[in-house]
Amino acid sequence: MLCDICGKNPATVHLTEIIDDQMNELHLCEECARTKSSAMEQQFGLSDLLAGMVDFEQKNKEEGIPAVKCPNCGLTYADFKKIGRLGCGQCYNVFRQYLAPLLKRIHGSSQHMGKSPARRAKSAAAASAAVVGAATEAPPAAAPSKRKTGLQELKAQLAKAIEKEAFEEAARLRDQIRAMESKKNANK
């Protein structure tokens, strides 16, 4: 059997294409198959699929989001939308509020139920819990629960955030500490 596209080389790759419910069988040589598959990938890769899901989910909420950048690896949300891959583990914290609904769409859930690593730094769990509070709600809304915490507590949280390289969280804490300190000075 000869290749359906070039008609010269023997067909060694057999492909079923479904376009608008029409099933087409294609018999291609290795070279034409390679060209065809890369053309198809360009047309519709997994990243497009994911990006599409993100779009669908976030269309109305997303103004200004693509500029959010992971302080650890530098990946922006716009990068993620383009390539369909996150840059590092920290990205999951930074983009948490957009990722949670996406994960729910993909998996039907955004809550892990499986095993956990044998070695798990306790500070990592604590730091992530602190960031959860900050990221699942909009920053101003997250503030009230934190407002009660004392200066010392905030400073401890800041140290943890810096250690975890959660710089966005750290910046927020730093501003809070500054505000509290200037208030204290003003009251003197």
Binding site: T12, L15, L86, Y92, S109, S110, Q111, M113, K115, A118
Partner: protein, 350 residues
């Protein structure tokens, strides 16, 4: 171990043993893991990828389960060697491209294969013959625990194991079962079965995983969802589905035997005849004919052919394997000649 040593070895998953091995070729579990201190491979620079590779090398050298394993650095292999490893199902096609700082760790029995710096820092894979996902899970779980003691995995309590692609987040687990379903294909029930599979959010792939077409009546079924269920639940869900498919294939085989016995025997014997006498044969034709012979063997038609010989031929007749056996580069035409020769040798010896 050298790559060439694999040539004379039968991969664990090809042995044709284990539960339901008349219908289930193999069971495979893979776990996606990343190290918390480095960006994911696609976003990391050379030094970081090097760091990943060195950390994993150091950790794996301390693990007993990996004592008899070999590390292949992909950048040092030629294209035939890389293709050879893909044909043996030890790694993905993706792992053959942009090979800098990519590596593959394989144990002597070819039960464990760990891809380093593929889409994630670690893709740990465990293979078993037959329908055996829980056994695969119990071994890979132990290995993952050992690695997790030495390496700091990227993990969050609520999202679980963090992966480059959000489709793998959570358990990072994919369980796959490779099925041989000739009777469901012949009786034209396969579309119905596959439609049900995708409705239940499982995926079907061909012999070589992601993006490959089902051929030779082989179908690889795996879970899509990796978050929101425990590993045991995910495996139990796959198992439930696979048990039903096995039952349907077994029934379809019985119906073909009772209603169309002569037609079926004719087709199987003709396939065997072509394989035993062909002088030129493509890999596609080989897979299709071998599939029929395997069915014949499962149905007890060939008392003296063992399943393992047929299973091995599916792999050793692939392009890179033929070139490794001949120890030189072969054109497509030359391969078709050598392939026919190899099959005649193996089948006529029986």
């Amino acid at each position: 171990m050298q790559i060439n040593d694999l040539l004379n070895h039968t991969s664990e998953w090809l042995k044709g043993t284990g539960p339901n091995s008349d219908i289930v070729i193999s069971s495979r579990i893979r776990l996606a893991r990343n190290l918390s201190k480095y960006p994911f491979p696609h976003w990391a620079n050379k030094e970081q990828l090097d760091g990943v590779l060195n950390d994993i090398k150091a950790a794996s050298s301390k693990i007993n389960m990996l004592k008899s394993s070999t590390l292949f650095v992909l950048g040092e292999l030629d294209s035939i060697d890389k293709q050879f490893l893909v044909e043996r199902h030890l790694m993905s096609i993706e792992h053959t491209q942009k090979t800098e700082k990519k590596a593959l760790l394989v144990d002597d029995e070819e039960i464990i294969a760990v891809m380093i710096n593929e889409e994630d820092h670690l893709r740990i894979q465990l293979m078993q013959s037959g329908f055996n996902l829980f056994e695969a899970w119990s071994i890979i779980n132990r290995l993952d625990d050992e690695l997790g003691k030495l390496l700091d995995y990227a993990y969050l309590d609520d999202f679980g194991y963090l992966t480059a692609c959000p489709t793998n987040t959570g358990t990072g687990m994919r369980g796959s079962v490779m099925l041989h379903l000739p009777a469901l294909v012949m009786s034209r029930q396969i579309e119905r079965v596959l439609a049900a599979v995708s409705k239940l959010s499982f995926t079907t792939r061909g012999l070589y995983g992601e993006g490959t077409q089902a051929s030779g009546n082989f179908f690889q079924i795996s879970n899509q969802v990796s978050l929101g269920h425990s590993e045991d639940e995910i495996i139990e869900n796959i198992n439930g589905l696979i048990r039903q498919i096995i039952e349907q294939e077994a029934q379809a085989r019985q119906i073909l035997l009772s209603k169309n016995r002569t037609v079926l025997e004719d087709r199987i014997n003709r396939s065997f005849g072509i394989l035993k006498s062909a002088r030129i044969i493509t890999s596609q034709e080989t897979i299709e004919l071998l599939s029929m012979v395997r069915l014949g063997s499962d149905l007890g038609m060939f008392k003296d052919i063992d399943r393992r010989t047929i299973n091995e031929l599916f792999i050793t007749t692939q392009p890179a394997h033929l070139q490794k056996i001949e120890n030189k580069k072969l054109s497509s035409e030359e391969r078709d000649l050598k392939r026919a020769e190899l099959i005649r040798k193996k089948l006529n010896l029986l």
